[in-house]
């Protein structure tokens, strides 16, 4: 049986914030501010606790010689490097040059190298989908080819007609579908958030 405390708290806080949104009242505004500040503090505390939990878990893996020792060493060494760089005496925290160097000299180039593969993997995925004769994928690739033709850098009247067609495609059918998806996402995200906060579980729970 679920504990009613959390949903009750959520309902009280939700009604309080809703009332603050709809009604101008100084006392109500101060109370809502206190609740929001408390939520920010709880989130920050949870993030810190999670990082500590990760460090402890990886240390435990190393100590008991289980799991992936190289991965555990890399995680702990990475955490230690960033902590030392950002928290040593005289450091400027996240904006310290040593932390910035770790990000710009290690993380960013690694990410850029991976993203260089996007073009190849996208073509590979399209080819495999066509081989599998997936209806949705075939339609998608056909639409991509049409857009590709419309965006060809052709001059003259034909080029203007192609560019107009591409613009119409973007604004009317693609724009309509995109807006529909975004509206659906917004509605169901709100519903899901409320269900999560109120403790309403999945259908198979």
């Amino acid at each position: 049986m679920r504990r009613p405390t959390i949903p009750a708290l959520v309902i009280v806080v939700g009604v309080l914030l809703l009332a603050d949104l709809l009604v101008v009242n100084d006392s109500l505004g101060e109370l809502a501010g206190v609740v929001i500040d408390a939520a920010i503090l709880v989130a920050a505390g949870a993030a810190l606790a999670a990082v500590a939990s990760l460090a402890l878990r990886r240390s435990g893996d190393l100590w008991r010689r289980r799991g992936d020792p190289i991965g555990a060493v890399l995680v702990l060494a990475g955490m230690a490097a960033v902590l030392v760089a950002g928290l040593r005496p005289g450091a400027d925290g996240a904006s310290d040059p040593a932390v910035q160097w770790l990000v710009s000299a290690l993380l960013v180039p690694l990410g850029a190298t991976l993203f260089g593969l996007l073009f190849v993997t996208t073509l590979g995925a399209a080819r495999r989908s066509l081989e599998l004769r997936s209806r949705e994928a075939t339609l998608l690739v056909a639409a991509a080819l049409v857009v590709l033709v419309l965006l060809l850098p052709v001059s003259g009247a034909v080029g203007a007609w192609l560019a107009g067609g591409a613009q119409w495609l973007l604004e009317v059918p693609i724009g309509a579908v995109f807006r529909g998806v975004l509206l659906g996402v917004a509605i169901l995200a709100s519903v899901f958030a409320a269900r999560t906060l109120l403790g309403i579980g999945a259908a198979d729970d």
Binding site: L22, S53, L110, G111, F115, A137, V181, V191, F192
Partner: protein
Amino acid sequence: MPTPAELVGRVVRFVGDVLGASALRFEIGTTLVVLGILLVLLQLIARPVSRWVTTDVGGLAGIGRAMAVAAEAGTDAVVSLGTAGIARSTDAFGRLQTLSALPLLGHVARAAARSGVPLRVLTNDPLAGVAAAAALDAAHERTATLERLGRSRIVMVGEGRAAAAGLVMTTRARPAAAVAAGSLREEATLHLEGLRGGAGALTAATAEAVQAPTAILTAGGALIGPELFQATADLRADVNERTMVMAANRILVVAVLAVVAGSALVLAGVMAAEDLLLGIGGR
């Protein structure tokens, strides 16, 4: 000591004073619209199962079969919680997608626990890792298979979206089934292609609208846009429930068709409305 009547009177006066010191932030019409939208949302929230959906969104009904194949082949299964995380995400939308992936993880974890298949959960966020560990615990506890819990593991893939994509592209393990649920952005193709390369079956679920083509191209089953949030309400352990909804929907369609056809006949003057409702000669 005040009497109960005096106490009630004071409370009413206090509420009256508070209301008297307040003013509406918006116009009355806007306020009513906001409250109306909330009422509609509450109706949706109170109904945990979407009544009309009978299709197997994202191929999630096939998870049990995939686990049986994995058990037979002696391989594991992989669930990726996307790359937004909870603590590391900079926007609420990404966090919400990670949270919506947790019920899907629970669904897969229960199927894996029943089949004795080890589960690998990939995440790049410590808080999401803790939540995933709790989901695995709950799944094994519910299926009374706690002795199998030690075979499943949470893999912290490192900070950043690219790190997760890099890990799945370079891993040598070949899982029987993979599910990627949560926020996937610019790295989506790399991430899903990496999972797809090794896995026997791949389901991709993301609410990022611009990544819909990636999910369609790379995954066998795709949950696109709102379907990620909808899937949580449509997970069903028992296939009979889906069949019952399907049968009920067909009966409703037949009833609607009968009403439309009857109305057309009444409007055409072929029969009277009373005959339609009570049967010919039923008056």
